[in-house]
Symmetry: none
Subunit: 208 residues, 4 copies
Amino acid sequence: MNTTKPKQERSRLSKNKILESAIEIFAQKGPAGTRVDEIEAKAGVNKQRIYAYFGSKDNLYRQVLLKVYAQATENEKLLKLSEKNIPEMTKTIINSFFEFHQQNPLFWRLLAWENLNGGKSLSDDDWKTIESNYIEHLRELYKTGQEKGLFDKKILFSTYLISIFAITFFYYSNQLTISNLLSLDMEKTDFQSRFINEVQRLFVRATQ
Amino acid sequence: MNTTKPKQERSRLSKNKILESAIEIFAQKGPAGTRVDEIEAKAGVNKQRIYAYFGSKDNLYRQVLLKVYAQATENEKLLKLSEKNIPEMTKTIINSFFEFHQQNPLFWRLLAWENLNGGKSLSDDDWKTIESNYIEHLRELYKTGQEKGLFDKKILFSTYLISIFAITFFYYSNQLTISNLLSLDMEKTDFQSRFINEVQRLFVRATQ
Amino acid sequence: MNTTKPKQERSRLSKNKILESAIEIFAQKGPAGTRVDEIEAKAGVNKQRIYAYFGSKDNLYRQVLLKVYAQATENEKLLKLSEKNIPEMTKTIINSFFEFHQQNPLFWRLLAWENLNGGKSLSDDDWKTIESNYIEHLRELYKTGQEKGLFDKKILFSTYLISIFAITFFYYSNQLTISNLLSLDMEKTDFQSRFINEVQRLFVRATQ
Amino acid sequence: MNTTKPKQERSRLSKNKILESAIEIFAQKGPAGTRVDEIEAKAGVNKQRIYAYFGSKDNLYRQVLLKVYAQATENEKLLKLSEKNIPEMTKTIINSFFEFHQQNPLFWRLLAWENLNGGKSLSDDDWKTIESNYIEHLRELYKTGQEKGLFDKKILFSTYLISIFAITFFYYSNQLTISNLLSLDMEKTDFQSRFINEVQRLFVRATQ
DNA sequence: CATGAATGAGCATTCATTCAT
DNA sequence: AATGAATGAATGCTCATTCAT
């Protein structure tokens, strides 16, 4: 298939295909439910390559998490926010998070498996490599906003951010059960954009 | 041991022990990670009883979900709220949900497994039996509150409730990853009670 | 098959059949070459039983060694030797060892695998349980013999015993290569009985 | 690295490195436990070379045996023995064998694997190439010794030689189990040299 | 000659479920 | 109702050997 490619290129491509396939399958079925054979089939490579490149299913899963977390903690749009954007910052964050979940529909799943799993898959050292660069930036802006009277001084940044994380995550992660419980169709774009608007309103009223 | 009990009584007890054990193990390990043998051991009954009473592992899991959902949708305290409680209703709901998660630490896990599972475990008919009695009650109060100008008319009840669900659920379900990401100790009672206060403040400011 | 047997009996029989089959196959093929499936087939039990009773292939091998070593270190005939038998003691020992190898043709194989294996299969505690009861008895007799001038005082008991061990073991363990090298047919009873006689003569002349 | 060497030279060197590495690994792990990959790594050549030079793992093993056996059947010192050395011949043989095992600690292992293996690795034709040149020489000397009354006429040369083979082989091959059984430290030089002395004494007294 | 990749079978172990006593 | 045993399909991982660049 890749016969025309030079060797190193082929190797890199194979490794990538394995990782991409693994992300999808681990996200769908979780670490326990994932079959190495399925990754093999989806990646279109030989199982041997998986073990040659990643050593074990466990480590492949770890690499999946590291890659996905790294993607999630990069956010150009949020990093570009400056002091003069503080007034619309909340809306921007909420938009950005909803957008992220829409474009990375596997993300909440991997996060959920990992939380259920007790976080056994990543070491402390792994976590150190997942420093989110945008979080500290937002923290600074929030503080400045509080000093300028643009944000409620009695609501900590962590409370503010966790709450936004929570609502955006939950909207996707628990769509199924909530839709059933409240008889809603949360997948409809209508519903979703209205929901986003209201959440923005909610946070703006609450904190500003 | 149970030799003095009448047969029917023993049977009921056995069934109960199986279900209780199953709840715990399914919550901890998920449907895929749960071993029938482990339930057998924990319940102290013979595997045959499990199959006699529940037919299959899948159906036992279904019964687990039905039971836990039923418990979760009962809420005396919220049902007792009346029109005159509307002003403190938001605080009460938030308190009540945090309390519920604290007292039922397995609940978010079962919910998370189920959402990851794509909800394949329950049928539409099953869902009809999980009508939450307190939700409609709260919806009425919220509407009344809106009419009386006590709640923001531009924020739907569903948005309001989903947001509260989200934050209380997420606080437990994602504790592990968020603690790592924000370098917090979310398990500490201090942090938690401060967080609850701020969330209450946030929602009160936002909606009232 | 065993349907008429009571349960405990069946269980004991199954366990025994597994162990007996394992002895044979481990002896023939060694720990690395042995397939659990083959033991399953030979024992006529289900693989699950092997794992239920023995936990793992490694532990089954360990049990095999313990059982066979225990058999090898029991020796009624040698234990019965008394002071008055000292003159023919050497012949008796040599006979007894050759006989043992003839009746337990798998023994040298297990010993050989184990020595090649670096003895990783048994723990120090395991070895403590393999106290040979007849060795100390022979050591006493040898000492008495030395004191009475019936055994050469310049040859230690350990040298004496190791040498006899060596020749009897080697006769079976290296039959194949030695037969080829010296163009002999060591399997023939003629050759063997002549060899035994000469070895006896050799040791008697050497030590008495 | 080898770019300055002529092609044929390189080829010969590679083949040799493969064989040397194979000897060590086959000796340590046996034919079943040996991995072609490990030989590849240790030899520092590519797997393809192994297959090009030796065809298969089985044949490589065969070549290993042939080489090692050839080394073992050469013995300058023993070939140099003449009639006038007959009196000390036994001591010389014993010394020479112990020395050989000390200098070729892998030898007994290969021999042991092969005996366990049932000798399937070498054909009759292979064996014909392993004619030991020193054995016939010793046989002659022994016969002369017997005629001169220097050796017991009732002990065959084969018995004599097999016994010496046995003791020297066994001292190394079964060190592990014997050390455990008799609570000895057979690795200590003290013990070993004393043992050798006593074995010499034993054989001299027995046969002369 | 070197090297990454592919093949295909094999192997220890596990598990949900059923059978028979 | 309790319990040991049997079934049969998986599953992660390994390995000798071959291919293709």
